[in-house]
Chain length 189, copies 2
């Protein structure tokens, strides 16, 4: 018998997404979001939901572009900070010591030190209550060589992405390998 | 200098979501999806994207409801299997030994043995290329007592949700605690 926990925004795992934007004056900004995920294959798209009250929300509306950065475990302090402060009141790049770099493909910046970046062009917005869901076409994925496997694709154990715990507001790392997809289930066939 | 990996659906981490549906005849079905996430606070909503070609896609269109189950590490074989087989050709509950239970709140089933369940009423569909993004209002969250903390909320280390690796198609567990959110970043202020 399961216990009812009510109508709640609980999900496991959720990602730690650093959303990069330029405001109207061209000031670069970063904010943290845990509510998002891939949402289409062709074109590759990602959805990320931001509260309408955030500074980044208006920046995406204005510039029709954003980046998504995936920080590593050792960048947790900066990832947490940019989720607490507002770009209205200061320069989060300066405070965290991260270096803003202008994307050559979309009208948005990313942090040079963040090892994995998606550059996104706004395709669609969905207005749902206090949040807007932004669907962005992933125009390019960029990664540091240090987080790539020999096959040239990202290595999750080198990238060390953070997992956000929606129930107790904590950050976790990636754990042990559990099994190969499209493979471990074959024994049930 | 970052390396360009092209326009791709790479993100870390992504979840392992078991989407529960009834087809037109009332047969329960489960399928695995990694493309989804929370997308609104009031009402609590989750977005999940399914290829239009899937059996589950048509079932959600028909019934306007679905459930999302979060399997534990030790359920990886079943989670992988229901992502490979189609409900068109067989009964995935029977093959995996999972027990379908009808939600009392929405017109969709979930697997009794899966420890964490979201019951969702379809609110919105977004047609993007080969995928449809389904936005569901989370009407209730249900969890086994075995995955709850003393405070009554889910304990991520008891739930042991799977992480899906989009680059190398593997499943991982949750790793070590890295830091407290809205806290570790304060040292940068």
């Amino acid at each position: 018998m399961k216990k009812s926990l009510g109508s709640n925004t609980l999900l496991f795992p959720t990602p730690v997404l650093l959303v990069g934007t330029y405001d109207r004056e061209g000031k670069p900004n970063l904010m943290t979001a845990a509510w998002g995920g891939i949402c289409n294959s062709q074109p590759p798209c990602i959805a990320v939901s931001l509260r309408k009250a955030t500074y980044s929300h208006d920046a995406i509306m204005e510039r029709k572009a954003f980046t998504i950065g995936i920080p590593s475990e050792d960048q947790v302090d900066a990832a947490d900070y940019v989720g607490m402060a507002s770009g209205r009141n200061g320069d989060k790049f300066a405070v965290t010591g991260l270096t803003p770099r202008k994307s050559e493909l979309v009208d948005a910046p990313y942090a040079e030190e963040i090892p994995f970046i998606l550059e996104c062009r706004l395709l669609h917005t969905l207005d749902i209550g206090p949040h807007t869901q932004f669907v962005g076409e992933i125009v390019d994925v960029k990664a540091d060589a240090s987080v790539l496997s020999e096959d040239g694709r990202p290595d999750i154990l080198k990238l060390k992405p953070l997992v956000y715990d929606t129930a107790h507001q904590g950050y976790y790392g990636i754990g042990q390998f559990v099994g190969k997809a499209f493979s471990v289930g074959k024994k049930l066939k």
